[in-house]
C-alpha cells in the first residue's frame, strides 16, 4: 500500500474494494429514490411546491455546510496520516465527527419541529418522500459516524501509519458518499421548484 500517495494512475479507488461495492449499492438506492421523487413531483407539482415551501432552508444550509466541512476534515485527516502526522490526523478526524454530530443535532431539531406540527411520514406524498429520503440519509450519517469513530479509535491506538491507512480511506470513501448524496438531496428536496 506504499503507493497510496503517488499522484498518478491508480487502478483502484481508495479504501477496500468491498466498501465500493457497498457504496455502489447505496448510490443505486438513492438514485432510484431521487428519480422517484422527481417523477412523482411532476404529477403533483402543486402539492410538492406548497409543502416544500414550509421547509426550513436555514437548517438545511447549516447541515450542508456541516457535511461539506466534515468531508473536508476527513480529507485533511487522511492527508495528515500519509505523512505520519498521527496526532494531527486524529484532530481532523475528531473535527469531522463533531461536524457529523452537528448535522444530527440540527436534523433532529428539524424533525422535532415537524413533529410538533403533527407532520409525519404519512401526512402527504411530499412528506412521505421528504421523511423517507432524509431519514434514510440520516441513518447513513449515523452509520458513517460509527465507521469514522472506529477509524479514530484505531488511529488513537496507533493502528494507522503512512504505510498502512487503508481503513481510514475506506471510512473516508463512505463518508464522502454520504456527503455527496446530501449535496443532491438538499437542492432536490429543499430548493428546486
Amino acid at each position: 500500500m506504499t503507493h497510496a500517495d503517488s499522484d498518478i494512475g491508480h487502478e483502484r479507488p481508495p479504501g477496500d474494494l468491498a466498501i465500493w461495492i457497498f457504496i455502489c449499492a447505496e448510490l443505486l438506492v438513492f438514485a432510484v429514490f431521487f428519480a422517484s421523487y422527481a417523477f412523482t413531483r411532476a404529477n403533483h407539482v402543486e402539492l410538492f411546491n406548497q409543502w416544500q415551501s414550509t421547509l426550513n432552508r436555514n437548517y438545511a444550509l447549516v447541515n450542508t455546510l456541516a457535511l461539506i466541512t466534515s468531508s473536508y476534515f476527513v480529507v485533511r485527516a487522511i492527508a495528515a496520516i500519509r505523512i505520519d502526522h498521527r496526532s494531527a490526523s486524529l484532530r481532523w478526524l475528531l473535527g469531522a465527527l463533531a461536524m457529523g454530530a452537528l448535522f444530527l443535532v440540527v436534523k433532529s431539531m428539524e424533525y422535532a419541529d415537524h413533529y410538533s406540527h403533527g407532520v409525519n411520514l404519512r401526512t402527504n406524498l411530499f412528506f412521505m418522500f421528504y421523511f423517507s429520503l432524509t431519514f434514510f440519509h440520516f441513518m447513513h450519517v449515523l452509520m458513517g459516524m460509527v465507521i469514522l469513530g472506529v477509524n479514530a479509535a484505531v488511529l488513537r491506538k496507533g493502528g494507522y501509519s503512512a504505510e498502512n491507512h487503508r481503513g481510514m480511506e475506506t471510512g473516508g470513501s463512505y463518508w464522502h458518499m454520504v456527503d455527496m448524496v446530501w449535496l443532491i438531496l438538499f437542492p432536490l428536496v429543499y430548493v428546486m421548484r
Binding site: M1, D16, M139
Partner: protein, 144 residues
C-alpha cells in the same frame, strides 16, 4: 501488491449492513404500528369478529381462497366478498350453508363445513370487518 478486497471488510459490510437495514426496518415497523389504528378497522373487531377469524382459520379457508390477495389461488378473493355480495352478511351465510355435501360434478366446489349458526354469522362478520380495512384501493375491481 497487498489485498485490496479484504475478507474482513466484506464481513464488516455484512454485519454492519444487515444490522443497519434491520434497524431501519424496525423504525418503519414502529411507524406502521402507530399508523395502523387509522387504517386497520380495529374498532370493528368485536368478539364475534374474533370468533369469525378463528372459524376462518380452523377450516383452513386460506387453503383455497385469498384474503387481501394472500392465500391460495383456487377460489375467489374474499377480502371484498362482503361488498361483492351486495354488502350483505346474510348472502355470505347463505352461500356457505348451501354448499352441496358431495360437491358439484366436474366443477370446483366449496366443502360443506356444517357450521353452526353462530359460527356462520361470525365468519360473515369477520369478512365484513376485513372488507373495511384500508387496503389502498386494492383489489382493482369488485371481482377481486
Amino acid at each position: 501488491m497487498s489485498e485490496t478486497f479484504t475478507k474482513s471488510m466484506a464481513r464488516n459490510i455484512f454485519y454492519g449492513g444487515s444490522l443497519f437495514f434491520f434497524l431501519l426496518f424496525l423504525a418503519l415497523t414502529f411507524d406502521t404500528e402507530s399508523a395502523l389504528p387509522d387504517r386497520d378497522n380495529r374498532q370493528a373487531i368485536t368478539e364475534k369478529v374474533a370468533l369469525g377469524k378463528k372459524v376462518w382459520e380452523e377450516h383452513d379457508c386460506i387453503g383455497c381462497h385469498t384474503l387481501l390477495g394472500e392465500g391460495a389461488y383456487f377460489a375467489p378473493e374474499l377480502g371484498n366478498v362482503y361488498k361483492r355480495f351486495g354488502n350483505s352478511t346474510e348472502a355470505i351465510v347463505g352461500f356457505i350453508k348451501s354448499r352441496p355435501e358431495n360437491g358439484i360434478p366436474g366443477r370446483r366446489s366449496m366443502p360443506q363445513f356444517n357450521l353452526s349458526d353462530e359460527e356462520l354469522e361470525a365468519v360473515a362478520e369477520f369478512l365484513k370487518y376485513a372488507s373495511e380495512i384500508n387496503t389502498n384501493n386494492w383489489p382493482p375491481n369488485i371481482q377481486g
